[in-house]
Symmetry: C2
Subunit: 317 residues, 2 copies
Amino acid sequence: VKVPWIEEASKASKEKKVLVGVSGGLDSMALLHLLCESGFRKVIVCHLNHGLRGRDSGGDARFVKRAGEKLGFEVEAGKIDLLKRIEEMGESLETAGRKARHQFFGSCGRKYRCSRILLAHHADDQAETVLWNLMRGSLGCRGMRETTQLAMDGKAMRVVRPFLGTRKSELADWMEERGLRWREDASNAVSDVVRNCLRNEALPLLAEISKRDVIPNLVRAAETDEEWRGLLDWAVAGADVIDPQGRLHTAAMRKLPDVLKRGIFAEYLRGIGISKIDRNLLDRCAGLLDIGNAASLNLPGGGRLRRRSGRIFSEQF
Amino acid sequence: VKVPWIEEASKASKEKKVLVGVSGGLDSMALLHLLCESGFRKVIVCHLNHGLRGRDSGGDARFVKRAGEKLGFEVEAGKIDLLKRIEEMGESLETAGRKARHQFFGSCGRKYRCSRILLAHHADDQAETVLWNLMRGSLGCRGMRETTQLAMDGKAMRVVRPFLGTRKSELADWMEERGLRWREDASNAVSDVVRNCLRNEALPLLAEISKRDVIPNLVRAAETDEEWRGLLDWAVAGADVIDPQGRLHTAAMRKLPDVLKRGIFAEYLRGIGISKIDRNLLDRCAGLLDIGNAASLNLPGGGRLRRRSGRIFSEQF
Protein backbone atom coordinates (compact mmCIF):
# COMPACT_ATOMS: atom_id res chain seq x y z
CA VAL A 1 0.00 0.00 0.00
CA LYS A 2 1.15 3.49 -0.81
CA VAL A 3 0.05 5.90 1.90
CA PRO A 4 1.34 9.43 1.28
CA TRP A 5 0.83 10.71 4.82
CA ILE A 6 2.77 7.83 6.37
CA GLU A 7 5.56 8.14 3.83
CA GLU A 8 6.00 11.82 4.61
CA ALA A 9 5.62 11.47 8.35
CA SER A 10 8.12 8.62 8.42
CA LYS A 11 10.68 11.08 7.10
CA ALA A 12 9.64 14.07 9.14
CA SER A 13 8.29 12.94 12.47
CA LYS A 14 8.57 9.23 13.11
CA GLU A 15 10.54 9.95 16.28
CA LYS A 16 7.59 11.87 17.70
CA LYS A 17 4.92 10.27 19.82
CA VAL A 18 1.69 9.29 18.15
CA LEU A 19 -1.53 7.79 19.45
CA VAL A 20 -3.35 5.24 17.30
CA GLY A 21 -6.94 4.15 17.74
CA VAL A 22 -6.97 0.37 17.39
CA SER A 23 -10.08 -1.81 17.50
CA GLY A 24 -8.26 -4.98 16.46
CA GLY A 25 -10.07 -5.08 13.11
CA LEU A 26 -8.40 -5.14 9.72
CA ASP A 27 -8.15 -1.39 9.24
CA SER A 28 -6.53 -0.43 12.48
CA MET A 29 -4.26 -3.50 12.62
CA ALA A 30 -3.00 -2.62 9.15
CA LEU A 31 -2.33 0.91 10.35
CA LEU A 32 -0.44 -0.41 13.36
CA HIS A 33 1.74 -2.78 11.35
CA LEU A 34 2.37 -0.20 8.64
CA LEU A 35 3.54 2.33 11.24
CA CYS A 36 5.90 -0.27 12.65
CA GLU A 37 7.21 -1.18 9.19
CA SER A 38 7.67 2.54 8.41
CA GLY A 39 9.91 3.01 11.41
CA PHE A 40 7.60 4.66 13.92
CA ARG A 41 8.74 3.74 17.43
CA LYS A 42 6.83 5.92 19.86
CA VAL A 43 3.39 4.56 19.12
CA ILE A 44 0.75 4.40 21.81
CA VAL A 45 -1.94 1.88 20.97
CA CYS A 46 -5.31 3.08 22.28
CA HIS A 47 -8.00 0.44 22.47
CA LEU A 48 -11.44 1.07 23.86
CA ASN A 49 -13.51 -1.98 24.75
CA HIS A 50 -17.13 -0.94 24.06
CA GLY A 51 -18.45 -4.10 25.69
CA LEU A 52 -20.65 -4.80 22.66
CA ARG A 53 -19.37 -8.18 21.44
CA GLY A 54 -19.80 -10.25 24.58
CA ARG A 55 -16.81 -12.52 25.16
CA ASP A 56 -15.33 -11.41 21.83
CA SER A 57 -14.88 -7.91 23.27
CA GLY A 58 -12.41 -9.21 25.81
CA GLY A 59 -10.77 -11.24 23.07
CA ASP A 60 -10.34 -8.12 20.94
CA ALA A 61 -8.74 -6.29 23.86
CA ARG A 62 -6.30 -9.15 24.59
CA PHE A 63 -5.46 -9.48 20.90
CA VAL A 64 -4.68 -5.75 20.56
CA LYS A 65 -2.62 -5.73 23.76
CA ARG A 66 -0.53 -8.70 22.67
CA ALA A 67 -0.02 -7.37 19.13
CA GLY A 68 0.91 -3.89 20.33
CA GLU A 69 3.39 -5.14 22.90
CA LYS A 70 4.93 -7.56 20.42
CA LEU A 71 5.63 -4.56 18.17
CA GLY A 72 7.26 -2.82 21.11
CA PHE A 73 4.51 -0.19 21.46
CA GLU A 74 2.80 1.06 24.59
CA VAL A 75 -0.79 -0.11 24.94
CA GLU A 76 -3.52 1.83 26.69
CA ALA A 77 -6.78 -0.06 27.11
CA GLY A 78 -10.06 1.37 28.32
CA LYS A 79 -13.46 -0.14 28.89
CA ILE A 80 -17.00 1.20 28.95
CA ASP A 81 -20.51 -0.16 28.86
CA LEU A 82 -21.74 1.47 25.67
CA LEU A 83 -25.23 0.01 25.74
CA LYS A 84 -25.80 1.40 29.22
CA ARG A 85 -24.58 4.76 28.00
CA ILE A 86 -26.92 4.67 25.00
CA GLU A 87 -29.83 3.94 27.31
CA GLU A 88 -28.93 6.88 29.48
CA MET A 89 -28.19 9.35 26.71
CA GLY A 90 -30.62 8.20 24.00
CA GLU A 91 -27.97 8.49 21.28
CA SER A 92 -27.44 6.25 18.28
CA LEU A 93 -24.92 3.45 18.53
CA GLU A 94 -22.54 5.22 16.19
CA THR A 95 -22.77 8.63 17.85
CA ALA A 96 -22.39 7.21 21.34
CA GLY A 97 -19.46 5.06 20.24
CA ARG A 98 -17.71 7.99 18.62
CA LYS A 99 -18.20 10.19 21.67
CA ALA A 100 -16.92 7.48 23.99
CA ARG A 101 -13.83 6.93 21.85
CA HIS A 102 -13.13 10.66 21.64
CA GLN A 103 -13.36 10.91 25.41
CA PHE A 104 -11.01 7.97 25.78
CA PHE A 105 -8.54 9.29 23.18
CA GLY A 106 -8.57 12.69 24.87
CA SER A 107 -7.70 11.12 28.20
CA CYS A 108 -4.92 9.09 26.50
CA GLY A 109 -3.66 12.35 24.96
CA ARG A 110 -3.41 13.93 28.37
CA LYS A 111 -1.82 10.90 29.98
CA TYR A 112 0.87 10.52 27.31
CA ARG A 113 1.20 14.26 26.58
CA CYS A 114 0.49 13.65 22.94
CA SER A 115 -2.00 15.54 20.79
CA ARG A 116 -1.64 13.55 17.57
CA ILE A 117 -3.94 10.60 16.98
CA LEU A 118 -4.17 8.41 13.91
CA LEU A 119 -7.43 6.72 12.95
CA ALA A 120 -7.75 3.99 10.35
CA HIS A 121 -10.79 5.20 8.37
CA HIS A 122 -10.25 4.21 4.74
CA ALA A 123 -11.64 5.00 1.31
CA ASP A 124 -14.60 2.65 1.71
CA ASP A 125 -15.55 4.40 4.97
CA GLN A 126 -15.11 7.75 3.25
CA ALA A 127 -17.49 6.76 0.43
CA GLU A 128 -20.13 5.78 2.99
CA THR A 129 -19.69 9.09 4.75
CA VAL A 130 -20.09 11.06 1.54
CA LEU A 131 -23.21 9.19 0.56
CA TRP A 132 -24.65 9.55 4.04
CA ASN A 133 -23.98 13.30 4.17
CA LEU A 134 -25.52 13.68 0.76
CA MET A 135 -28.66 11.83 1.90
CA ARG A 136 -28.95 13.92 5.01
CA GLY A 137 -28.58 17.17 3.14
CA SER A 138 -26.96 20.37 4.31
CA LEU A 139 -23.40 19.04 4.15
CA GLY A 140 -23.27 18.32 0.42
CA CYS A 141 -20.56 15.84 -0.55
CA ARG A 142 -18.53 16.45 2.55
CA GLY A 143 -16.42 13.56 3.76
CA MET A 144 -13.93 13.08 6.57
CA ARG A 145 -10.78 15.16 6.31
CA GLU A 146 -7.32 13.66 6.30
CA THR A 147 -6.20 16.05 9.00
CA THR A 148 -8.49 17.83 11.36
CA GLN A 149 -8.31 19.59 14.68
CA LEU A 150 -10.78 18.28 17.24
CA ALA A 151 -11.39 18.82 20.93
CA MET A 152 -11.51 15.37 22.56
CA ASP A 153 -12.58 15.36 26.19
CA GLY A 154 -11.49 18.98 26.34
CA LYS A 155 -8.05 18.28 24.90
CA ALA A 156 -7.19 19.73 21.48
CA MET A 157 -6.14 16.81 19.30
CA ARG A 158 -4.87 16.66 15.76
CA VAL A 159 -6.71 13.78 14.15
CA VAL A 160 -5.06 12.22 11.10
CA ARG A 161 -6.68 9.64 8.85
CA PRO A 162 -3.86 8.44 6.58
CA PHE A 163 -5.97 5.73 4.90
CA LEU A 164 -8.74 7.91 3.46
CA GLY A 165 -7.44 7.29 -0.05
CA THR A 166 -6.70 3.60 0.52
CA ARG A 167 -9.16 0.81 -0.22
CA LYS A 168 -10.08 -1.73 2.40
CA SER A 169 -9.18 -4.48 -0.06
CA GLU A 170 -5.65 -3.05 -0.40
CA LEU A 171 -5.26 -3.23 3.36
CA ALA A 172 -6.47 -6.83 3.38
CA ASP A 173 -4.05 -7.80 0.61
CA TRP A 174 -1.19 -6.09 2.40
CA MET A 175 -1.95 -7.88 5.65
CA GLU A 176 -2.38 -11.26 3.97
CA GLU A 177 0.88 -10.97 2.05
CA ARG A 178 2.62 -10.63 5.40
CA GLY A 179 0.60 -13.32 7.14
CA LEU A 180 -0.63 -10.77 9.67
CA ARG A 181 -3.80 -11.33 11.63
CA TRP A 182 -6.75 -9.27 12.74
CA ARG A 183 -10.06 -9.76 14.52
CA GLU A 184 -13.01 -10.04 12.14
CA ASP A 185 -15.91 -7.72 12.99
CA ALA A 186 -13.99 -5.91 15.71
CA SER A 187 -14.32 -2.62 13.83
CA ASN A 188 -17.88 -3.20 12.66
CA ALA A 189 -19.30 -3.64 16.13
CA VAL A 190 -20.04 0.07 16.50
CA SER A 191 -21.41 0.63 12.99
CA ASP A 192 -25.06 1.51 13.15
CA VAL A 193 -27.83 0.19 10.95
CA VAL A 194 -27.63 3.08 8.50
CA ARG A 195 -23.93 2.67 7.88
CA ASN A 196 -24.26 -1.08 7.49
CA CYS A 197 -27.06 -0.62 4.96
CA LEU A 198 -25.06 1.94 3.01
CA ARG A 199 -22.09 -0.44 2.98
CA ASN A 200 -23.87 -3.68 2.27
CA GLU A 201 -26.82 -2.57 0.16
CA ALA A 202 -26.65 0.95 -1.26
CA LEU A 203 -23.04 1.05 -2.44
CA PRO A 204 -23.16 -2.42 -4.03
CA LEU A 205 -26.41 -1.48 -5.80
CA LEU A 206 -24.93 1.75 -7.12
CA ALA A 207 -21.87 -0.14 -8.34
CA GLU A 208 -24.09 -2.68 -10.05
CA ILE A 209 -26.26 -0.04 -11.71
CA SER A 210 -23.36 2.04 -12.94
CA LYS A 211 -21.21 -1.00 -13.78
CA ARG A 212 -18.19 0.52 -12.12
CA ASP A 213 -16.39 0.85 -8.84
CA VAL A 214 -18.07 3.92 -7.34
CA ILE A 215 -15.92 4.17 -4.21
CA PRO A 216 -13.06 6.16 -5.80
CA ASN A 217 -15.57 8.54 -7.38
CA LEU A 218 -17.24 9.22 -4.03
CA VAL A 219 -13.83 9.70 -2.43
CA ARG A 220 -12.94 12.16 -5.16
CA ALA A 221 -16.21 14.03 -4.60
CA ALA A 222 -15.18 14.52 -0.97
CA GLU A 223 -11.79 15.82 -2.06
CA THR A 224 -13.44 18.21 -4.49
CA ASP A 225 -15.80 19.37 -1.77
CA GLU A 226 -12.86 20.09 0.49
CA GLU A 227 -11.17 22.05 -2.28
CA TRP A 228 -14.30 24.16 -2.74
CA ARG A 229 -14.36 24.92 0.96
CA GLY A 230 -10.69 25.84 0.77
CA LEU A 231 -11.43 28.19 -2.11
CA LEU A 232 -14.15 29.83 -0.06
CA ASP A 233 -11.83 30.26 2.94
CA TRP A 234 -9.25 31.80 0.64
CA ALA A 235 -11.80 34.15 -0.90
CA VAL A 236 -13.17 35.18 2.52
CA ALA A 237 -9.66 35.90 3.78
CA GLY A 238 -8.89 38.00 0.72
CA ALA A 239 -12.20 39.85 0.46
CA ASP A 240 -11.71 43.57 0.90
CA VAL A 241 -15.06 44.44 2.44
CA ILE A 242 -14.27 45.60 5.97
CA ASP A 243 -13.86 49.28 6.74
CA PRO A 244 -11.39 50.66 9.33
CA GLN A 245 -14.12 50.50 11.98
CA GLY A 246 -14.56 46.77 11.35
CA ARG A 247 -17.91 47.24 9.63
CA LEU A 248 -18.95 45.44 6.45
CA HIS A 249 -19.06 47.58 3.35
CA THR A 250 -22.44 46.89 1.69
CA ALA A 251 -21.55 48.19 -1.78
CA ALA A 252 -18.46 45.96 -1.92
CA MET A 253 -20.40 43.00 -0.54
CA ARG A 254 -23.15 43.27 -3.14
CA LYS A 255 -20.71 42.61 -5.96
CA LEU A 256 -19.71 39.21 -4.55
CA PRO A 257 -21.17 35.77 -5.34
CA ASP A 258 -23.84 34.71 -2.84
CA VAL A 259 -21.76 31.85 -1.46
CA LEU A 260 -18.97 34.32 -0.68
CA LYS A 261 -21.40 36.76 0.95
CA ARG A 262 -22.52 33.97 3.24
CA GLY A 263 -18.91 32.98 3.94
CA ILE A 264 -18.06 36.54 4.93
CA PHE A 265 -21.10 36.86 7.17
CA ALA A 266 -20.18 33.53 8.80
CA GLU A 267 -16.69 34.83 9.49
CA TYR A 268 -18.09 38.10 10.81
CA LEU A 269 -20.56 36.32 13.11
CA ARG A 270 -17.87 34.01 14.46
CA GLY A 271 -15.79 37.11 15.11
CA ILE A 272 -18.48 38.57 17.36
CA GLY A 273 -18.80 35.31 19.25
CA ILE A 274 -21.84 33.71 17.62
CA SER A 275 -21.43 29.95 17.50
CA LYS A 276 -24.75 28.70 16.16
CA ILE A 277 -24.45 29.73 12.52
CA ASP A 278 -26.64 27.95 10.00
CA ARG A 279 -27.64 28.48 6.40
CA ASN A 280 -30.90 30.11 7.36
CA LEU A 281 -29.17 32.75 9.48
CA LEU A 282 -26.63 33.42 6.74
CA ASP A 283 -29.37 33.87 4.16
CA ARG A 284 -31.07 36.38 6.43
CA CYS A 285 -27.76 38.22 6.88
CA ALA A 286 -27.26 38.34 3.12
CA GLY A 287 -30.80 39.71 2.89
CA LEU A 288 -29.60 42.77 4.83
CA LEU A 289 -27.66 43.78 1.72
CA ASP A 290 -30.92 44.29 -0.11
CA ILE A 291 -32.05 47.84 0.51
CA GLY A 292 -35.64 46.72 0.06
CA ASN A 293 -35.43 44.58 3.21
CA ALA A 294 -35.57 45.63 6.86
CA ALA A 295 -32.35 47.31 7.99
CA SER A 296 -31.70 45.07 11.00
CA LEU A 297 -32.07 41.52 12.19
CA ASN A 298 -31.86 39.87 15.56
CA LEU A 299 -29.01 37.49 16.22
CA PRO A 300 -29.20 34.30 18.26
CA GLY A 301 -28.19 34.98 21.86
CA GLY A 302 -29.14 38.67 21.77
CA GLY A 303 -27.60 41.50 19.84
CA ARG A 304 -28.45 42.43 16.31
CA LEU A 305 -27.01 43.16 12.94
CA ARG A 306 -27.80 46.56 11.47
CA ARG A 307 -27.45 48.21 8.07
CA ARG A 308 -26.87 51.97 8.14
CA SER A 309 -25.14 54.43 5.80
CA GLY A 310 -23.77 51.73 3.52
CA ARG A 311 -22.31 49.66 6.34
CA ILE A 312 -23.43 46.56 8.23
CA PHE A 313 -22.36 46.14 11.84
CA SER A 314 -23.43 44.42 15.04
CA GLU A 315 -24.83 46.11 18.11
CA GLN A 316 -25.88 44.91 21.53
CA PHE A 317 -29.38 45.51 22.80
CA VAL B 1 -47.08 24.72 -7.93
CA LYS B 2 -44.83 27.68 -7.36
CA VAL B 3 -42.32 27.98 -10.17
CA PRO B 4 -40.11 31.05 -9.78
CA TRP B 5 -38.86 31.14 -13.36
CA ILE B 6 -42.37 31.06 -14.81
CA GLU B 7 -43.61 33.70 -12.37
CA GLU B 8 -40.84 36.05 -13.38
CA ALA B 9 -41.01 35.32 -17.08
CA SER B 10 -44.78 35.79 -17.06
CA LYS B 11 -44.16 39.37 -15.96
CA ALA B 12 -41.15 40.07 -18.13
CA SER B 13 -41.40 38.12 -21.34
CA LYS B 14 -44.64 36.24 -21.81
CA GLU B 15 -45.24 38.09 -25.05
CA LYS B 16 -42.06 36.65 -26.51
CA LYS B 17 -41.94 33.43 -28.45
CA VAL B 18 -40.88 30.31 -26.62
CA LEU B 19 -40.36 26.75 -27.74
CA VAL B 20 -41.38 23.94 -25.39
CA GLY B 21 -40.27 20.33 -25.69
CA VAL B 22 -43.36 18.18 -25.12
CA SER B 23 -43.43 14.40 -25.00
CA GLY B 24 -47.04 14.20 -23.86
CA GLY B 25 -46.02 12.83 -20.44
CA LEU B 26 -46.91 14.36 -17.10
CA ASP B 27 -43.94 16.70 -16.85
CA SER B 28 -44.15 18.41 -20.19
CA MET B 29 -47.95 18.55 -20.23
CA ALA B 30 -47.83 20.28 -16.84
CA LEU B 31 -45.34 22.76 -18.26
CA LEU B 32 -47.57 23.41 -21.25
CA HIS B 33 -50.69 23.99 -19.17
CA LEU B 34 -48.84 26.11 -16.63
CA LEU B 35 -47.48 28.33 -19.40
CA CYS B 36 -51.00 28.77 -20.73
CA GLU B 37 -52.38 29.53 -17.28
CA SER B 38 -49.55 32.03 -16.71
CA GLY B 39 -50.49 33.98 -19.82
CA PHE B 40 -47.91 32.86 -22.34
CA ARG B 41 -49.42 33.09 -25.83
CA LYS B 42 -46.61 32.58 -28.31
CA VAL B 43 -45.78 29.02 -27.38
CA ILE B 44 -44.50 26.60 -29.98
CA VAL B 45 -45.06 23.00 -28.92
CA CYS B 46 -42.21 20.82 -30.19
CA HIS B 47 -42.89 17.10 -30.18
CA LEU B 48 -40.46 14.53 -31.48
CA ASN B 49 -41.83 11.06 -32.14
CA HIS B 50 -38.94 8.69 -31.40
CA GLY B 51 -40.84 5.73 -32.81
CA LEU B 52 -40.12 3.69 -29.69
CA ARG B 53 -43.58 2.94 -28.32
CA GLY B 54 -45.13 1.25 -31.33
CA ARG B 55 -48.70 2.44 -31.88
CA ASP B 56 -48.51 4.44 -28.65
CA SER B 57 -45.93 6.68 -30.28
CA GLY B 58 -48.46 7.87 -32.82
CA GLY B 59 -50.99 8.25 -30.02
CA ASP B 60 -48.57 10.46 -28.08
CA ALA B 61 -48.06 12.64 -31.14
CA ARG B 62 -51.79 13.03 -31.81
CA PHE B 63 -52.43 13.74 -28.12
CA VAL B 64 -49.80 16.49 -28.02
CA LYS B 65 -51.02 18.02 -31.28
CA ARG B 66 -54.62 18.16 -30.09
CA ALA B 67 -53.71 19.51 -26.65
CA GLY B 68 -51.40 22.16 -28.07
CA GLU B 69 -53.89 23.37 -30.62
CA LYS B 70 -56.69 23.44 -28.08
CA LEU B 71 -54.56 25.82 -26.01
CA GLY B 72 -54.08 28.00 -29.08
CA PHE B 73 -50.40 27.17 -29.50
CA GLU B 74 -48.49 26.26 -32.63
CA VAL B 75 -47.46 22.62 -32.81
CA GLU B 76 -44.38 21.33 -34.57
CA ALA B 77 -44.11 17.58 -34.79
CA GLY B 78 -41.11 15.60 -35.97
CA LYS B 79 -40.47 11.90 -36.38
CA ILE B 80 -37.38 9.73 -36.39
CA ASP B 81 -36.52 6.07 -36.12
CA LEU B 82 -34.39 6.15 -32.98
CA LEU B 83 -33.63 2.43 -32.89
CA LYS B 84 -32.25 2.55 -36.40
CA ARG B 85 -30.13 5.51 -35.41
CA ILE B 86 -28.82 3.69 -32.35
CA GLU B 87 -27.85 0.74 -34.52
CA GLU B 88 -26.00 3.03 -36.89
CA MET B 89 -24.27 5.18 -34.25
CA GLY B 90 -23.78 2.68 -31.42
CA GLU B 91 -24.99 5.17 -28.82
CA SER B 92 -27.03 4.52 -25.70
CA LEU B 93 -30.78 5.01 -25.88
CA GLU B 94 -30.58 8.11 -23.71
CA THR B 95 -27.70 9.73 -25.54
CA ALA B 96 -29.17 9.05 -28.97
CA GLY B 97 -32.56 10.33 -27.83
CA ARG B 98 -31.09 13.52 -26.43
CA LYS B 99 -29.09 14.18 -29.57
CA ALA B 100 -32.09 13.58 -31.78
CA ARG B 101 -34.22 15.96 -29.72
CA HIS B 102 -31.53 18.62 -29.73
CA GLN B 103 -31.31 18.37 -33.50
CA PHE B 104 -35.08 18.63 -33.78
CA PHE B 105 -35.28 21.56 -31.33
CA GLY B 106 -32.50 23.34 -33.20
CA SER B 107 -34.40 23.01 -36.46
CA CYS B 108 -37.57 24.26 -34.73
CA GLY B 109 -35.56 27.21 -33.41
CA ARG B 110 -34.51 28.12 -36.92
CA LYS B 111 -37.94 27.64 -38.42
CA TYR B 112 -39.69 29.80 -35.80
CA ARG B 113 -36.76 32.21 -35.29
CA CYS B 114 -36.74 31.49 -31.60
CA SER B 115 -33.72 30.62 -29.47
CA ARG B 116 -35.47 29.99 -26.17
CA ILE B 117 -36.61 26.47 -25.35
CA LEU B 118 -38.21 25.22 -22.17
CA LEU B 119 -37.74 21.63 -21.01
CA ALA B 120 -39.75 19.98 -18.25
CA HIS B 121 -36.99 18.27 -16.25
CA HIS B 122 -38.01 18.36 -12.60
CA ALA B 123 -36.48 17.84 -9.16
CA ASP B 124 -36.77 14.04 -9.34
CA ASP B 125 -34.88 14.06 -12.67
CA GLN B 126 -32.31 16.39 -11.14
CA ALA B 127 -31.72 14.01 -8.21
CA GLU B 128 -31.12 11.14 -10.64
CA THR B 129 -28.68 13.26 -12.59
CA VAL B 130 -26.74 14.22 -9.47
CA LEU B 131 -26.51 10.63 -8.31
CA TRP B 132 -25.52 9.46 -11.76
CA ASN B 133 -22.79 12.10 -12.11
CA LEU B 134 -21.52 11.21 -8.67
CA MET B 135 -21.31 7.52 -9.60
CA ARG B 136 -19.52 8.29 -12.82
CA GLY B 137 -16.97 10.51 -11.15
CA SER B 138 -15.29 13.58 -12.56
CA LEU B 139 -18.37 15.78 -12.41
CA GLY B 140 -18.94 15.67 -8.65
CA CYS B 141 -22.49 16.60 -7.63
CA ARG B 142 -23.21 18.45 -10.82
CA GLY B 143 -26.81 18.54 -11.93
CA MET B 144 -28.66 20.17 -14.78
CA ARG B 145 -28.69 23.96 -14.74
CA GLU B 146 -31.88 25.99 -14.75
CA THR B 147 -30.60 28.10 -17.61
CA THR B 148 -27.92 27.05 -20.00
CA GLN B 149 -26.65 27.99 -23.41
CA LEU B 150 -26.44 25.09 -25.81
CA ALA B 151 -25.76 24.67 -29.52
CA MET B 152 -28.57 22.55 -30.95
CA ASP B 153 -28.07 21.45 -34.52
CA GLY B 154 -25.71 24.38 -34.92
CA LYS B 155 -28.18 26.91 -33.55
CA ALA B 156 -27.36 28.62 -30.25
CA MET B 157 -30.31 27.98 -27.94
CA ARG B 158 -31.03 29.16 -24.45
CA VAL B 159 -32.35 26.10 -22.61
CA VAL B 160 -34.47 26.78 -19.54
CA ARG B 161 -35.63 24.11 -17.09
CA PRO B 162 -38.15 25.91 -14.85
CA PHE B 163 -39.18 22.75 -12.95
CA LEU B 164 -35.77 21.75 -11.55
CA GLY B 165 -36.91 22.67 -8.05
CA THR B 166 -40.39 21.19 -8.44
CA ARG B 167 -41.29 17.64 -7.48
CA LYS B 168 -42.95 15.29 -9.94
CA SER B 169 -45.65 14.64 -7.35
CA GLU B 170 -46.44 18.37 -7.19
CA LEU B 171 -46.92 18.40 -10.94
CA ALA B 172 -49.21 15.37 -10.74
CA ASP B 173 -51.29 16.99 -7.99
CA TRP B 174 -51.53 20.20 -9.95
CA MET B 175 -52.67 18.39 -13.09
CA GLU B 176 -55.18 16.24 -11.23
CA GLU B 177 -56.72 19.19 -9.42
CA ARG B 178 -57.50 20.66 -12.83
CA GLY B 179 -58.62 17.36 -14.34
CA LEU B 180 -55.92 17.65 -17.00
CA ARG B 181 -54.67 14.60 -18.85
CA TRP B 182 -51.31 13.27 -19.94
CA ARG B 183 -49.92 10.14 -21.59
CA GLU B 184 -48.44 7.66 -19.12
CA ASP B 185 -44.92 6.52 -20.02
CA ALA B 186 -44.56 8.98 -22.87
CA SER B 187 -41.59 10.66 -21.19
CA ASN B 188 -40.06 7.45 -19.85
CA ALA B 189 -39.71 5.83 -23.24
CA VAL B 190 -36.24 7.27 -23.81
CA SER B 191 -34.92 6.64 -20.28
CA ASP B 192 -32.17 4.12 -20.40
CA VAL B 193 -31.61 1.20 -18.06
CA VAL B 194 -29.29 3.13 -15.77
CA ARG B 195 -31.70 5.98 -15.26
CA ASN B 196 -34.61 3.64 -14.66
CA CYS B 197 -32.58 1.71 -12.07
CA LEU B 198 -31.54 4.90 -10.31
CA ARG B 199 -35.16 6.05 -10.24
CA ASN B 200 -36.82 2.79 -9.30
CA GLU B 201 -34.18 1.09 -7.17
CA ALA B 202 -31.34 3.27 -5.95
CA LEU B 203 -33.25 6.39 -4.88
CA PRO B 204 -36.01 4.43 -3.09
CA LEU B 205 -33.35 2.35 -1.30
CA LEU B 206 -31.47 5.47 -0.19
CA ALA B 207 -34.72 7.01 1.04
CA GLU B 208 -35.53 3.83 2.96
CA ILE B 209 -32.07 3.60 4.54
CA SER B 210 -31.94 7.24 5.56
CA LYS B 211 -35.62 7.35 6.48
CA ARG B 212 -36.12 10.63 4.68
CA ASP B 213 -36.95 12.13 1.33
CA VAL B 214 -33.53 12.35 -0.29
CA ILE B 215 -34.61 14.13 -3.48
CA PRO B 216 -34.54 17.70 -2.08
CA ASN B 217 -31.11 17.04 -0.59
CA LEU B 218 -29.72 15.86 -3.90
CA VAL B 219 -31.29 18.86 -5.63
CA ARG B 220 -29.68 21.13 -3.06
CA ALA B 221 -26.31 19.43 -3.63
CA ALA B 222 -26.59 20.35 -7.33
CA GLU B 223 -27.38 23.96 -6.39
CA THR B 224 -24.40 24.06 -4.05
CA ASP B 225 -22.20 22.60 -6.76
CA GLU B 226 -23.33 25.32 -9.14
CA GLU B 227 -22.55 27.96 -6.52
CA TRP B 228 -19.04 26.56 -6.08
CA ARG B 229 -18.49 26.72 -9.83
CA GLY B 230 -19.76 30.28 -9.81
CA LEU B 231 -17.32 31.16 -7.04
CA LEU B 232 -14.51 29.68 -9.10
CA ASP B 233 -15.53 31.67 -12.20
CA TRP B 234 -15.62 34.82 -10.07
CA ALA B 235 -12.19 34.08 -8.60
CA VAL B 236 -10.70 33.32 -12.03
CA ALA B 237 -12.10 36.56 -13.44
CA GLY B 238 -10.68 38.53 -10.53
CA ALA B 239 -7.29 36.84 -10.30
CA ASP B 240 -4.50 39.29 -10.99
CA VAL B 241 -1.96 36.88 -12.46
CA ILE B 242 -1.55 37.98 -16.09
CA ASP B 243 1.23 40.31 -17.12
CA PRO B 244 0.93 42.97 -19.85
CA GLN B 245 2.23 40.44 -22.40
CA GLY B 246 -0.59 38.04 -21.53
CA ARG B 247 1.71 35.62 -19.71
CA LEU B 248 0.90 33.97 -16.38
CA HIS B 249 2.86 35.26 -13.43
CA THR B 250 4.20 32.17 -11.62
CA ALA B 251 4.89 33.83 -8.26
CA ALA B 252 1.34 35.17 -8.09
CA MET B 253 -0.09 31.83 -9.23
CA ARG B 254 1.74 29.85 -6.55
CA LYS B 255 -0.09 31.68 -3.77
CA LEU B 256 -3.49 30.54 -5.02
CA PRO B 257 -5.51 27.47 -3.97
CA ASP B 258 -4.99 24.51 -6.32
CA VAL B 259 -8.54 24.58 -7.59
CA LEU B 260 -8.09 28.21 -8.61
CA LYS B 261 -4.76 27.46 -10.31
CA ARG B 262 -6.52 24.84 -12.39
CA GLY B 263 -9.37 27.24 -13.14
CA ILE B 264 -6.93 29.87 -14.37
CA PHE B 265 -5.06 27.39 -16.53
CA ALA B 266 -8.38 26.19 -17.96
CA GLU B 267 -9.27 29.78 -18.85
CA TYR B 268 -5.81 30.35 -20.34
CA LEU B 269 -5.99 27.18 -22.43
CA ARG B 270 -9.46 28.04 -23.73
CA GLY B 271 -8.05 31.45 -24.63
CA ILE B 272 -5.43 29.88 -26.89
CA GLY B 273 -8.00 27.69 -28.57
CA ILE B 274 -7.57 24.39 -26.74
CA SER B 275 -10.91 22.65 -26.41
CA LYS B 276 -10.06 19.29 -24.90
CA ILE B 277 -9.24 20.32 -21.34
CA ASP B 278 -9.43 17.66 -18.65
CA ARG B 279 -8.33 17.35 -15.06
CA ASN B 280 -5.17 15.49 -16.00
CA LEU B 281 -4.03 18.28 -18.34
CA LEU B 282 -4.81 20.92 -15.71
CA ASP B 283 -2.83 19.04 -13.08
CA ARG B 284 0.13 18.89 -15.44
CA CYS B 285 -0.20 22.62 -16.11
CA ALA B 286 -0.25 23.34 -12.38
CA GLY B 287 2.86 21.17 -12.12
CA LEU B 288 4.66 23.75 -14.27
CA LEU B 289 4.52 26.10 -11.30
CA ASP B 290 6.83 23.79 -9.40
CA ILE B 291 10.38 24.79 -10.18
CA GLY B 292 11.46 21.20 -9.56
CA ASN B 293 9.47 20.02 -12.59
CA ALA B 294 10.30 20.25 -16.29
CA ALA B 295 9.85 23.79 -17.63
CA SER B 296 7.55 22.91 -20.50
CA LEU B 297 4.76 20.56 -21.46
CA ASN B 298 3.16 19.61 -24.73
CA LEU B 299 -0.42 20.62 -25.33
CA PRO B 300 -3.04 18.57 -27.17
CA GLY B 301 -3.16 19.56 -30.82
CA GLY B 302 0.43 20.82 -30.96
CA GLY B 303 2.00 23.78 -29.24
CA ARG B 304 3.35 23.81 -25.76
CA LEU B 305 3.27 25.63 -22.47
CA ARG B 306 6.59 26.93 -21.19
CA ARG B 307 7.86 28.36 -17.90
CA ARG B 308 10.67 30.92 -18.23
CA SER B 309 11.83 33.86 -16.08
CA GLY B 310 8.92 33.63 -13.70
CA ARG B 311 6.29 33.51 -16.44
CA ILE B 312 4.27 30.76 -18.11
CA PHE B 313 3.20 31.19 -21.71
CA SER B 314 2.26 29.16 -24.75
CA GLU B 315 4.32 28.75 -27.88
CA GLN B 316 3.81 27.00 -31.20
CA PHE B 317 6.22 24.33 -32.36
